[in-house]
C-alpha cells in the first residue's frame, strides 16, 4: 500500500493513491475524519508521546459524528498533554467539525506547523487549517494552506474543491473551473462519491453561470441533483438558471424541490 494516503472531505473520507494515480477507494463511513488505525492508507510514523487509547476513542466518535463527545475527549487529551501536537490537531479537527473555526484555528496552525513526521496525521493538518481560514474569511491564508496540501497530495479531491472555491471567490474563473474539474476527475465514477461529485458539479455550474454559459450551467446542476437528490443548493441553482433560460415551469418545479428540502431542514439552526 505504499503511496496510498487518506484523504477527507466534508462528508466522505476517501483514500487515494499517490501522485499520478486516481483515487481507488472511497471510505464512506467516516465523515471528515482520519481513518482508524490499520485502515487502508492510514499513515504510519513516529507518534509524539506514549500510545494513548483515547486516540481510537476519538476516531470512533468522529466517525460517528458525535462531535460533542469527541470534543470532551479531545479536551481531556489536550489537558493531559498540552504540548502534544497530535492532541492539538484532534481538538482543532473536532472544533472545525463543530464550526467553531476561531477556536480551532490556533490549534490547527500549531499542528500544521509541525514536521510531517511529528504525528501520523500531520501532513493533512494544512487541509483542515485551510478550511478554518476559509470559514473565517482569510482567503489568502486558506489558499496557502490548501496549496501546500495539494502539493503534497495532488490527488486529494476535497483540496481541489477548496482551491476551486477560493479561486471563484477571488474571481479567477478559469482556475476555479480547472480545480472543480480536477476534483471531479479524482472522484471519478466511484460508488459512494455521488454527494461529493454533486457538490463539485454545483460549484462548476456556478462558474458557468458567472460566464453566462447557461446551458452548461444547467447541465451541471441537473447532473448534481441526479447524483444527490437532496442537494437543495443545486435545486435552487437549477431553478435560477431555468428562470434565466425562460423555462419558468421547470424552474418552479426545481424550486419546489428545494423548498421541500429546506422545509425538512428547518429548525436545525437558530439563525
Amino acid at each position: 500500500m505504499q503511496g496510498l494516503r487518506w484523504v477527507s472531505s466534508i462528508g466522505t473520507l476517501a483514500v487515494a493513491t499517490a501522485a499520478g494515480a486516481t483515487n481507488s477507494v472511497v471510505w464512506q463511513a467516516i465523515p471528515g475524519t482520519p481513518p482508524p488505525a490499520g485502515a487502508p492508507g492510514a499513515p504510519s510514523g513516529p507518534v509524539q508521546g506514549a500510545p494513548d487509547p483515547r486516540w481510537d476513542v476519538l476516531r470512533k466518535l468522529l466517525r460517528a459524528s458525535q462531535f460533542g463527545a469527541a470534543e470532551q475527549v479531545a479536551r481531556a487529551v489536550v489537558k493531559d498533554r498540552p504540548d502534544d501536537l497530535r492532541a492539538a490537531f484532534y481538538l482543532g479537527l473536532v472544533l472545525h467539525k463543530e464550526k467553531r473555526h476561531g477556536e480551532a484555528l490556533p490549534l490547527l496552525e500549531r499542528a500544521a506547523a509541525a514536521d510531517d513526521a511529528a504525528f501520523p496525521e500531520s501532513p493533512h493538518a494544512p487541509h483542515y487549517l485551510g478550511w478554518c481560514r476559509y470559514s473565517l474569511g482569510d482567503l489568502a491564508g486558506a489558499r496557502a494552506a490548501f496549496t501546500e496540501h495539494a502539493n503534497a497530495f495532488p490527488n486529494y479531491d476535497d483540496t481541489h474543491f477548496a482551491l476551486g472555491l477560493i479561486a471563484y471567490e477571488e474571481d479567477r474563473l478559469p482556475e476555479a473551473e480547472a480545480s472543480f474539474r480536477r476534483a471531479l476527475e479524482l472522484l471519478g465514477e466511484q460508488q459512494g462519491a455521488a454527494k461529493e461529485r454533486a457538490k463539485n458539479l454545483a460549484r462548476l455550474g456556478d462558474v458557468m453561470l458567472r460566464e453566462d454559459r447557461l446551458a452548461e450551467a444547467e447541465l451541471c446542476y441537473r447532473r448534481a441533483v441526479e447524483l444527490f437528490e437532496q442537494h437543495g443548493e443545486a435545486w435552487s441553482k437549477l431553478a435560477r438558471v431555468l428562470d434565466r433560460l425562460g423555462r419558468s415551469e421547470d424552474a418552479a418545479e426545481a424550486r419546489a424541490r428545494q423548498a421541500a428540502i429546506r422545509a425538512r431542514s428547518e429548525g436545525e439552526g437558530t439563525k
Partner: protein, 576 residues
Amino acid sequence: MMRDSRIFATVVASGFAVSCTAIAQAPARPVAAPTIRFEDVTAGSGLSAVMTSGTLPSTQILEVKGGGLALIDFDGDGDMDIFMPNGATLADPEHGPGARLFENMGGMHFRDVSAAMGARPTRWCFGCAVGDYDGDGRDDVYVCCHGPDILLRNLGGGRFEDVTAKAGLGDPGWSTSAGFADLDGDGDLDLFVVNYLDFDPAHPPAPAAFKGIPVMAGPRGLPARADLLYENRGDGTFRDASESAGIRQGIPGFGLNLAIVDFDGDRRPDILVGNDSEPNVLFVNRSVSGGSLRFEERGMVSGVATNIDGAAQATMGIAIGDVDGNGFPDVFTTNFSSDTNTLHLNLDGTFFDDRTAQFGVGAPSRPLLGWATAFADLDHDGAEDLVVFNGHVYPQATKVSMDSDYEQAPLVMRRAGGRFEVVKDPGPGLLGAHRDRTAVFGDLDGDGDVDIVVGELNGPLRLLRNTHDRADDWVTVRLKGPAGGLGHGMGAVVELASAKEPARVLARRWVWAGGPFQSTACTDLSFGAPPEWGPLVATVRWPARRDGGAVVSSPAEVRRGAVAEIAYPQARAPQR
C-alpha cells in the same frame, strides 16, 4: 441653519431650473492618490445622545436591533439635521428616554432641539422614514415602534404633532423600517412599513443555542408579522392597501429593512424587503396609470431573495448602487456572522445574480455581523466605495466561541477596478470595535464629501467627518420634485455624464426610500467627480406620474464644488 458661505446661481434651461451652490472658501488642493479617511468629531459637536436599546448585556431579541436614524432638513434651511427615534428598556418599553432631534448649525456643530419638538415619542422605537406626506413642503417623520407606530407631522419651527390616529395609522406590531414613496404615481407619498415579529416582553421565549452556546431566542420559532402598505388618500389620511395591492402574497417574513427603488426601469418604484433568516421579497410595481396599487412578488424568480446557494440570509443593511454601470440598481445586503454580505447585480431589470465573489465583498465579511451599509464615493475617484457597520447580537460572542466578536470594527471597502478592497486604515473615525447598528450617510458640513452618523447599541452617537476636503472633485445633486409630497424627487435617478458625451454615463444615483439600516438614505445625491472627467452634465429620470408629467429632463450642466438643484421640468421634456 443656513450656511452663509455659498454663492447661488440659477440657470434656466430646457424648461427646468438648475441652482448651483458653490463652496467659495475651500481651496483646491494638490492631486494625491485617493484615500479614505474619517475622523471622529463627536466631541464638542453638540451631537450628544445615547441610543437606548434595552440594557447590556442584551437578553432578548427586542434589545439587539438598536434604533434607527434619519437625516431630515426639518427646518428647510438646506442642510441635513439629525433625528434619532430612540428605544426603551424591557422594564418599561413604553417610556424610554425619548426621541432626539439635532439641528445642524454648520461646521459639524449641532444643537439639541428635542425638547421643543412638541410630540416626542418615548415608546420603544426602531427605524424611521422621512417624507412630506401631506405635501405642505415640510418633511414629516414616520417612526417604527414595538407597539403602535407614530406619524409625526412637521408643523415648522422645529415642532411636530402626533397625527397617527388622524392619519389612520398606528399598527400595534413590531415594525423595524419604513419608506415613503409615490407608488401609484398620483403625486403624494404612500407608505410601506416593514414588520418583524410578535414579541411580548412579559413572556419572552426560552433561550436557543448558537454554536453550542445558549443565546437569546429568535427570530426563528417566533411568529413573523406581515408587512403593511398604506396608500396616501391625498387628504392627510392613509388606507391600508396591503391586501388589495398584493402585499400579502406568500407567508410573512421577519422584515428588517427595505429599498423602494425602480428596479426594472419602468419608472415605477418597486419594493424590496429584507427579511431576517427568510427569503427576501421583491414587490414589483404593476400598478397601472389611473388604477389602484398592484404588486407582483418576484423575489425568488428574480434571484434577489437568497444568495447564490439558495440560502436565506439575515439581511440587515441594504445599499443601492450601480456597481456594474448597466443602469439598473444593484443590491448589497449585510448579513450574519459566518455568512457573507451579498451583492446582487441587477442584470436587466428582471433577474438578479449573486456576484458577491466577483466583486470580492464576501470573504472579508465572514467574521462580521453587518448592519447599516451604504455605497458612497468616499474618496471622490468616481467609483462608489462601500461601508458596513458591524457588531454581534449575542453578548457571548467572541472569536473563539462564535468566530465573531461582540464588538466589531466597521468594514470599509474601496472600489479598485473590478473589485472592492478592504481599506486597512480608514482613519481614526472608522477604526475601533463597537456594537454598531444604524448609520446615515450625507454631507453634513457642506464640503461636498459624505460624512457619517453612526448609532451604536446602548452607546453614544458618533459623528464621523470625511477628511477628503477638496473643492474641485465633487458634485451634489439635489432634486426639487413636483408640487405635493415629492419634494426630493423620490424615485428619480440622476445620471452624471461628460458634457462632451452626454450619452456616456459616468455615475448614477437613485433617490430611494429605505436605507442603511432602520434609517433613511440621504436624498441629496453625492457624486465624486474627478477633474479628468472634464465638464459634466446631469440628467434626471423622474418617476412616472398619473398626470403624464415629464419623465426625463434634458442634460443640465453642473459645476464641481457645488450643489446643483435640479427642479422638475415645468414643460414636457423630450422622452427617451
